[in-house]
């Protein structure tokens, strides 16, 4: 618990990184929800509008991933990992605290994005902004995905341990490698982490939601496990 509190305190006391990331998320969500609502004015109350607004919150998953990476790697980048391990030489506890922190942050970011969308929808369309069961279900999936994705990010951060390396390789992976594989060999591409997560959240022809959830969860757990082993094994330089 102490370590968890310390990790949360680290986020709160690294103001600029946190503020910039959260503000970007808020800005993107507000703009996205705003433009969706503005263009949806003439088809009042269709579940699609709500669905569209909810899907804006998918962007929070990317931020969760980034935060997951940061929560692990900023200690390495700034060398504070030395003091973290001096305070808690049983490193598995530190990693566990970081994973839990990442999950909490991932969920919080999704909830923030969803809250913005819903508040704006209600304010814009009033009683015509009707959230149906389907919408709640999708929101639930995004929240779960937020937890998985932040955990995956923390795992990747723990494996690579360099902040720039982890951020850059994630970007290249999700923006370049996965789309290319998906284009050339869709049967393999479907099972890559980003696409599996997407299939879980948004649905896909190739992978049922249940299977997609299992695949995405497996990636998160495996990344976290390899990351933990790597943190335990390596000397602090």
């Amino acid at each position: 618990m102490r370590l968890l509190y310390a990790e949360l305190l680290k986020i709160r006391t690294a103001p600029w990184t946190t503020v910039i990331l959260v503000l970007s998320l808020v800005a993107i969500t507000v703009l996205g929800a705003g433009s969706t609502l503005a263009t949806a004015d003439d088809i009042f109350g269709s579940p699609d509008v709500v669905g569209d607004v909810v899907s804006i919150s998918h962007i929070a998953l990317v931020f969760g991933l980034l935060f997951g990476i940061l929560i692990v790697t900023w200690d390495y980048r700034h060398g504070t990992i030395t003091q973290t391990f001096l305070a808690a030489p049983r490193r598995e506890r530190v990693v566990l605290a970081k994973l839990v922190t990442a999950v909490l942050v991932g969920v919080a970011l999704v909830l923030l994005a969803l809250a913005i969308g819903i508040v704006m929808g209600k304010a814009w369309l009033g009683g015509d902004f009707v959230i149906v069961r389907e919408n709640w279900e999708e929101m639930g999936r995004v929240v779960a995905a937020g937890a998985l994705w932040a955990m995956f990010g923390a795992g990747v951060g723990a494996i690579l341990q360099t902040q720039v390396g982890a951020l850059v390789s994630s970007l290249i992976w999700f923006l370049v490698v996965e789309p290319i594989v998906m284009g050339l060999r869709p049967r393999i591409g479907t099972y890559l982490p980003g696409n599996a997560l997407d299939a879980f959240v948004s649905g896909s022809d190739r992978l049922s939601r249940g299977n997609a959830a299992s695949v995405a969860a497996a990636y998160a757990v495996v990344a976290a496990a390899i990351g933990t082993a790597s943190v335990l094994r390596r000397d602090v330089s």
């Binding site: 305190l9 006391t13 900023w74 700034h78 504070t80 030395t82 003091q83 305070a87 808690a88």
Partner: protein, 296 residues
């Protein structure tokens, strides 16, 4: 008390520390001395559980660091000076550490006071000078009121007044019965700060002694100038005394007192123009121990 037993640490093919053993006693300031790259930081990292030994073991109060319950309350350590998140304030840095170890917030204010950092604690670390970072590191080490302190090059970046302040602080901590272990590559610093020194070089143990003893240990030199330097040299060598011939008929004699050299010369009718006992400085003692490798 810190104990290092037959510690060896390899990085690939490089041997950073080789079969190193020593013991650091409480109630004294013990210096850990060696040129840059001698293996000091590596040794400290193993002691602090940050690196694994290739073989051998290290203990603090009889237990390995990782086996210590609440290690920050037992051991305070400062390793490098740049290890701060630049955007975090000094006070918040300490709060994070206090939170991780269950140390109350009020203690953060106490240690800030102790290292005279209260005025700047609100500022972000980015704007701190090297000396301020050192003080913040010390504050972090003192958070848990530990009985053992391990400090890697704590005097780096301190001005002479800062070094005096550091010496007084470390002295008073040792005076309270704590074990204080301080590394440095600067002899002059050690002379001011430490009671004892452990000298290592290229990862190997060289010497452990009280600092005054170390200086005395360096074989004092006798400087002799004589027109018959060659004959005197042979005579001394015949007695098993090591002699080095310098320019202008000057001999540097080791392991012999000036009296002995003078008597030997008189007994053999050799004229001396100069006979001086030179006391070695700590610097020379150190050079001798490390085989002439220079220290900054």
């Amino acid at each position: 008390m810190i104990e290092v037993e037959r510690l060896t640490k390899r990085f690939g093919k490089t041997v950073a520390v080789q079969d190193l053993s020593f013991r650091v006693e409480p109630a004294r300031v013990t210096g850990f001395l060696g040129p840059n790259g001698a293996g000091k930081t590596t040794t400290l990292k193993v002691i602090l559980g940050l690196a694994r030994p290739s073989s051998g073991k290290t203990t603090i109060a009889g237990r390995s660091y990782r086996a210590l319950d609440q290690p920050m309350r037992r051991v305070g350590a400062v390793l490098e000076t740049s290890n701060y998140h630049p955007g975090r304030s000094g006070r918040n840095h300490l709060r994070v550490l206090a939170a991780a170890t269950g140390i109350p917030r009020s203690r953060v204010e106490e240690v800030l006071e102790l290292v005279a950092m209260k005025d700047v604690a609100r500022r972000r670390v980015k704007g701190y000078s090297l000396g301020m970072r050192q003080r913040l590191g010390l504050a972090a080490a003192l958070l848990g009121d530990p009985e053992v302190l391990v400090l890697d090059e704590p005097a780096n970046g301190l001005d002479p007044a800062g070094i005096r302040w550091l010496r007084d602080l470390l002295r008073s901590l040792a005076g309270q019965g704590r074990t204080v272990f301080v590394s440095s590559h600067q002899l002059a610093e050690m002379e001011q700060i430490a009671d004892d020194v452990i000298v290592i070089h290229r990862g190997k143990f060289i010497a452990q002694a009280a600092i005054a003893e170390l200086a005395a240990k360096a074989t004092a030199r006798v400087r002799v100038r004589s027109p018959h330097a060659d004959r005197l040299r042979e005579l001394l060598a015949a007695q098993g005394i090591s002699v080095e011939a310098l320019e202008g008929g000057v001999l540097a004699v080791r392991e012999a007192t000036s009296e002995r050299v003078g008597e030997l010369a008189a007994a053999n009718g050799i004229v001396l123009h100069e006979l001086t006992q030179e006391t070695a400085t700590l610097e020379e003692a150190f050079l001798e121990l490390t085989g002439g490798e220079t220290v900054a």
